[in-house]
């Protein structure tokens, strides 16, 4: 049991770390797309019409797939009015209950995401724009990000439980 937990935490944390490190550089992809949009406006009569949507897709991937790494970095704010004063142990205690709410949220998010992706595939859904990109690829990426976020939340839960039991993972 402990072994499974240890492996789970190690693998999930590692994978999300790597994903996050990759995603954080996609910032420059967004910058590049938007700069191209600026330049193409000056250069051609008809500027590139896919840039805004492409940048939006990139942003979605950026924050959804990069999300788990932000959890690892502890950058998601908490209201620490009381929380801030608690001991580590107490934090772990409370967290291991409240994180269930987070997990639940991510589960519902994922459920809706999968449903929406399934719909996109079934009807070959395209964005109603001039570019008309297929929507299932971006929705798949979104689901993937949410799924990894879910795995990360579970990993946080395991870490809290380990802390309470005073075991090393």
């Amino acid at each position: 049991m402990l072994k499974i937990a240890t492996t789970y935490v190690r693998v999930v944390d590692r994978v999300n770390y790597v994903l996050g490190r990759i995603m954080m550089y996609s910032l420059f992809a967004m910058i590049a797309i938007l700069l191209w949009s600026t330049i193409s406006k000056q250069m051609f009569v008809v500027p590139s019409y896919w840039t805004l949507e492409m940048a939006q897709f990139a942003l979605v991937a950026y924050y959804l797939v990069g999300g788990p790494y932000s959890i690892q970095m502890g950058s998601n704010v908490r209201m620490d009015l009381f929380y801030g004063e608690w001991s580590d142990r107490k934090k772990a205690w409370v967290d291991s209950f409240t994180v269930l709410l987070l997990i639940f949220y991510l589960g519902v998010l994922l459920y809706g995401g999968i449903d929406s992706t399934r719909y996109s595939l079934e009807y070959n859904e395209r964005a109603p724009t001039l570019w008309r990109p297929l929507l299932w690829p971006v929705k798949t990426v979104m689901c993937f990000g949410i799924f990894m976020m879910l795995l990360q939340a579970v990993s946080e839960l395991i870490k809290d439980i380990a802390k309470l039991r005073e075991v090393e993972l």
Binding site: G20, M23, M24, L27, M30, I31, L34, L35, S37, T38, K41, Q42, L52, A55, Q56, F57, L59, V60, Y62, Y63, L64, G66, G67, Y69, S70, I71, M73, S75, N76, V77, R78, M79, D80, L81, F82, Y83, G84, W86, K91, V94, D95, F97, T98, V99, L101, L102, F104, Y105, L106, G107, V108, L109, Y111, G112, G113, D115, S116, V138, M142, A153
Partner: protein
């Protein structure tokens, strides 16, 4: 279940969950999901995800990482060192001059990034130690850095105004313009306060000594003045093409990010480490914002679809039957109150959707209201128990500055900010003149 009951139930359970210290987006999204599954009926489970599609379609969101990145490049690369020196040698000789110069520095930094963290970091690492060394009062300088850096969200570019624009569906360009004069006015009032206070109590901000001043040759002084061009250039590279309609909002933000980056490279400050930290922190902060927005939009849709919004409208306009100004003041007060313990983004995305339509119905201008909201947020950042800038200050301040100092340092500045808030409420033109002038209303 009655609308009122749903409103109370959802709101109070969310508050409760926030109090337990879970990540803000988890608490908001979790309550939204529970309400969607239990109260909505068929199809409720799809709402949290459809909020993600909403976020995707809202294109000004793209400016968030750009403005955040600018701020980090600025503070990590210590691009502002020269700027600080400039104010130092020019303002030093008068009482409180260094503190006044720090406010000036903060205004310039505000024009180059969208949050207050950058100003905070620069203030705490460059200005604070210097000022303490020169015998400035520690409460004075801690307050100056906190108050000054909060200008980051009022002077364009501003992440908070972009988020507000999303909720209120108002043009970002006008909001930015509307923030400029109030920002400058507030800076002016800070300066006025420092000046008067140091006039009365010179020991709070001693003037630089004769030899200190003369140790810097005249040529060097002139050279330093030039460093002020950097922020102006970065600001202009974004704003000029934007206001002329050559580039769109999101394109301008990318130009701004690039400009900050190039400036750091040209100054030889873009080390590997600076690059890595700025990029990583941009992801961290962007994720924080965007996940809260995502969760809160889901919350908002559920709240709205269950009829809870109506309950609130009804309460304010019909049941209480209040005068528009009274309602407006009550709303500001409730923001101030919430700001003492609630995250500003959560406050914005949850409460503003209720208030904004009301503000409109009451006949107030939503651009002007955006400025009021932003100032309120600035105050919220600095007031205990929950305030980002307080936390940041606590983390960055040198050891001789205790938590007590930090808390008491903000009092006079918060009063000045409240004063500005009132001034802008009474004279809306302070905010509205510039956008009306530029967009020719």
């Amino acid at each position: 279940m009655s609308y009122e009951l749903i409103a109370i139930l959802m709101f109070s359970s969310m508050m409760l969950m926030l109090m337990t210290g879970q990540r803000v987006f988890g608490a908001i999204g979790g309550i939204a999901s529970i309400a969607a599954l239990t109260l909505w009926g068929t199809g409720g489970s799809d709402i949290p995800f459809s909020a993600a599609m909403k976020v995707m379609k809202w294109y000004p969101m793209l400016t968030l990482p750009m403005f955040i990145f600018m701020g980090y490049v600025l503070s990590e690369s210590r691009l502002a060192d020269d700027l600080y020196k400039m104010f130092h040698v020019w303002m030093g000789p008068i009482n409180g001059g260094l503190a006044i110069g720090t406010i000036g520095l903060m205004v310039l930094i505000s024009a180059m990034n969208g949050l207050s963290v950058a100003g905070m970091a620069i203030g705490a690492t460059i200005a604070l130690p210097e000022l303490l060394k020169r015998g400035y009062d520690k409460r004075m300088v801690t307050g100056v850095v906190q108050a000054g850096s909060s200008l980051g969200i009022l002077v364009p570019p501003s992440v908070v105004l972009v988020l507000y624009a999303m909720i209120a569906r108002q043009p970002v360009g006008q909001l930015w313009l509307a923030g400029i004069l109030p920002g400058l006015m507030m800076a002016g009032l800070f300066i006025l306060y420092i000046y008067i206070r140091c006039r009365i109590q010179p020991e709070l901000g001693p003037a630089l000594s004769e030899e200190d001043v003369s140790s810097v040759p005249r040529a060097e002084k002139i050279r330093l003045l030039r460093s002020g061009l950097l922020p102006l250039t970065i600001f202009a590279s974004m704003m000029v093409p934007f206001l002329n309609g050559w580039t769109s909002l999101v394109e301008s933000s990318a130009i701004g990010a690039l400009a900050a980056f190039i400036a750091a490279v040209l100054k030889g400050r873009m080390t590997r480490e600076v690059f890595e930290t700025s990029t990583r922190m941009t992801l961290a902060i962007s994720c924080m914002f965007m996940w809260i927005v995502l969760a809160a939009l889901g919350f908002g849709a559920v709240f709205d679809g269950l009829g809870a919004v109506k309950a609130i409208d009804n309460l304010f306009t019909e049941q209480l039957g209040l005068d528009p100004w009274v309602i407006l003041i009550l709303m500001q007060l409730s923001f101030l109150l919430m700001g003492t313990f609630l995250d500003d983004t959560a406050m914005l995305v949850i409460v503003a959707p209720l208030y904004v339509p009301l503000v409109k119905v009451l006949g107030f201008d939503l651009i002007w209201y955006g400025v009021l909201y932003t100032i309120t947020t600035q105050i919220a950042y600095m007031t205990p128990p929950f305030g980002y800038n307080l936390f940041l200050m606590r983390a960055m301040a040198p050891p001789e500055i205790g938590i007590k100092d930090i808390y008491s340092s903000i009092i006079p500045f918060v009063l000045v900010m409240l004063g500005s808030l009132i001034l802008i409420m009474v004279f809306p033109q302070i905010a509205m003149w510039l956008p009306n002038y530029v967009y020719g209303k």
